[in-house]
């Protein structure tokens, strides 16, 4: 059921950030004139040093925060069903079983569990946790909790999933595994992803577009395309192509850090 994506240049626009600015109290310019086009099927990484406004950009896209200037334009308008989010912490409800956590987005729309049971179980199956549907979050490892959070974000098949450093707190082995699983999931449900990360390697492995940002003021300084084909396996991590992209992204990141100083 893999959905084929058109090549990078031929995708239709999902949303556009036009001249978005955000200034916090005390004249902290978190974002300055940010322009970004997100296309259907993109996997975009926001890469940049701490404090460059990555989380702020996600919050503005999600509608949690209003930009000081500029606007977000969704093609065909935005409804609240269009979004899934994953935070750095799994952010599960500790009092609710795994299934109930995944059911939450539906429940908040007034949809009973029985109506969406299949979707919920299917999402859990996709993240490999169907055996743990009756467990409470405390019974799961950090990586498993994150899988539940991912299942919750995609259970409604949203047009866009926002992920703010979802794997930063995990060990490297778990992180690599989740990277792969995330790509597999994306093939399976064909969603668009904006993924915030500090890691050059992670951004190259996952995305087809890397948006490099610099701090003070937060802004986009470069956009790189990673044109390696999906599915990407662990072998991709050792390929020359991967190394070249990593070098390119790493240079851009250093430039971003240098410009801030």
């Amino acid at each position: 059921m893999s959905l084929s994506r058109p090549p990078l240049g031929e995708r239709s626009t999902l949303l556009q950030m036009n001249h978005v600015e955000k200034t916090f109290r005390g004249n902290i310019v978190a974002l300055k004139d940010m322009n970004l086009t997100v296309n259907e099927g993109d996997f975009i990484s926001l890469l940049g040093p701490s404090g460059c406004g990555k989380s702020t950009a996600l919050r503005i896209i999600s509608g949690l925060m209003q930009p000081t200037a500029g606007q977000i334009r969704w093609t065909g308008g935005q409804s609240k069903d269009d979004l899934g989010v994953v935070f750095q912490e799994p952010t599960l409800m500790p009092w609710a079983r795994v299934v109930d956590n995944v059911w939450l987005p539906f429940r908040l729309r007034g949809i009973s569990y029985n109506e969406v049971k299949d979707e919920v179980l299917q999402a859990l199956k996709l993240v490999g946790l169907e055996k743990f549907q009756r467990a409470f979050p405390r019974e799961l490892s950090g990586g498993m909790k994150m899988r539940v959070a991912i299942a919750r974000a995609m259970v409604t098949k949203p047009r866009l999933i926002l992920m703010d450093e979802p794997f930063a707190a995990l060990d490297e082995i778990t992180r690599h595994k989740l990277n792969q699983d995330l790509l597999a999931l994306r093939e399976a449900i064909g969603c668009t992803v904006i993924f915030v990360t500090h890691s050059v390697f992670e951004s190259v492995f996952l995305s087809d577009r890397i948006v490099v940002m610099a701090a003070r003021p937060g802004r986009v300084i470069r956009q790189l395309e990673v044109d390696a084909a999906y599915p990407r396996t662990e072998e991709f991590r050792t390929s020359a192509e991967y190394a070249a992209h990593c070098r390119e992204a790493s240079d851009a990141l250093h430039q971003a850090i240098g410009e801030a100083a």
């Binding site: 999600s62 509608g63 949690l64 935070f87 952010t91 409800m93 500790p94 939450l104 429940r107 405390r138």
Partner: protein, 284 residues
């Protein structure tokens, strides 16, 4: 490879696990045995002291006399206990209702909180012994006056704990609910209320004890004015009559009530939380 071969036939339970299992068993027994032993020894010491030192019964009655009074006066003590128990439980129920409703109102409306929270604090910090005689003047029905008195003492921990609990929700979860377009009611029902539950139950444990204290104080101050006699009034009256056997019997019953209430609240708390909350988990 011969090293890894050993012990594959029998299920391997290492010495450490066995020791731990044994230690746990001993601990479980000790939890009951030790306090029981202390009880028996102190009652024995009490008895010996009273008999050897020939302490007169109007100074300190022996355990035998207290037990005897307990049985003899049971027809009088039991109804008194029912009255005090009813007073305590009613006050506690009202404290739960009042505390929770106010806490929800406070967290839903900043204005309500700013306006009324200081007065809730004032009500709390004013010693109830000082308020009780006034209540008696303004409220004709002595039971109602006593109930109000016990309620004032018991409701504050519920209010303050629940208020803190309702404000303790994970910020990311709040954001998540907002992104999914949750209504105020949905946030309260599915996010704030479950978050507040452990805090509320902590408040409930304190409030249970305080409701009893409030009831006892109220009976001391108000009960004298010829209302139905609760345990505390019985105790006070017994002291006027130098009936120290009955006094001690009443005192013991009040303690027993306190223990029962505490055990009840702890059980409720455990049942509500044991599946998911850290406080109720057994550590390995």
């Amino acid at each position: 490879m011969s090293i890894t071969d050993t012990g594959t036939e029998t299920p391997l339970v290492d010495q450490e696990e066995l020791d731990r299992a044994r230690r746990e068993k001993i601990m479980r027994m000790a939890r009951w045995l030790l306090p029981s032993l202390v009880l028996i020894l102190s009652v024995l010491a009490w008895h010996l002291y009273v008999t050897i030192a020939e302490v007169p019964h109007y100074i300190l009655p022996g355990p035998g006399l207290v037990a005897q009074k307990m049985v003899e006066d049971w027809p009088l003590l039991w109804p008194a206990m029912v009255i005090t128990g009813r007073l305590t439980l009613l006050a506690l129920l009202m404290a739960v209702a009042g505390g929770v409703v106010l806490a929800v109102a406070f967290t839903q409306s900043k204005w309500a909180e700013m306006s009324f929270f200081p007065y809730a604090v004032i009500l709390q910090v004013t010693p109830v012994v000082a308020i009780a005689p006034l209540l008696q003047i303004y409220i004709d029905n002595a039971f109602m006056a006593a109930l109000l008195c016990a309620w004032i003492v018991a409701f504050f921990p519920i209010l303050s704990n629940t208020t803190i609990g309702l404000k303790s929700a994970d910020h990311n979860l709040e954001d998540l609910f907002s992104i999914y377009g949750a209504t105020r009611w949905q946030k309260l029902r599915y996010l704030y209320a479950p978050t507040a539950l452990p805090f509320f139950l902590g408040g409930l444990k304190i409030a249970g004890g305080l409701a009893l204290i409030g009831a006892v104080v109220a009976e001391f101050v108000i009960g004298r004015a010829g209302t139905g006699l609760g345990l505390a009034s019985t105790l006070l009256e017994a002291s006027y009559r130098f009936n120290f056997g009955r006094l001690y019997a009443a005192l013991i019953l009040i303690s027993v009530m306190g223990v029962v209430i505490f055990a009840l609240m702890s059980t409720i708390s455990y049942l509500a939380l044991f599946r998911w909350h850290e406080s109720a988990l057994k550590r390995e």
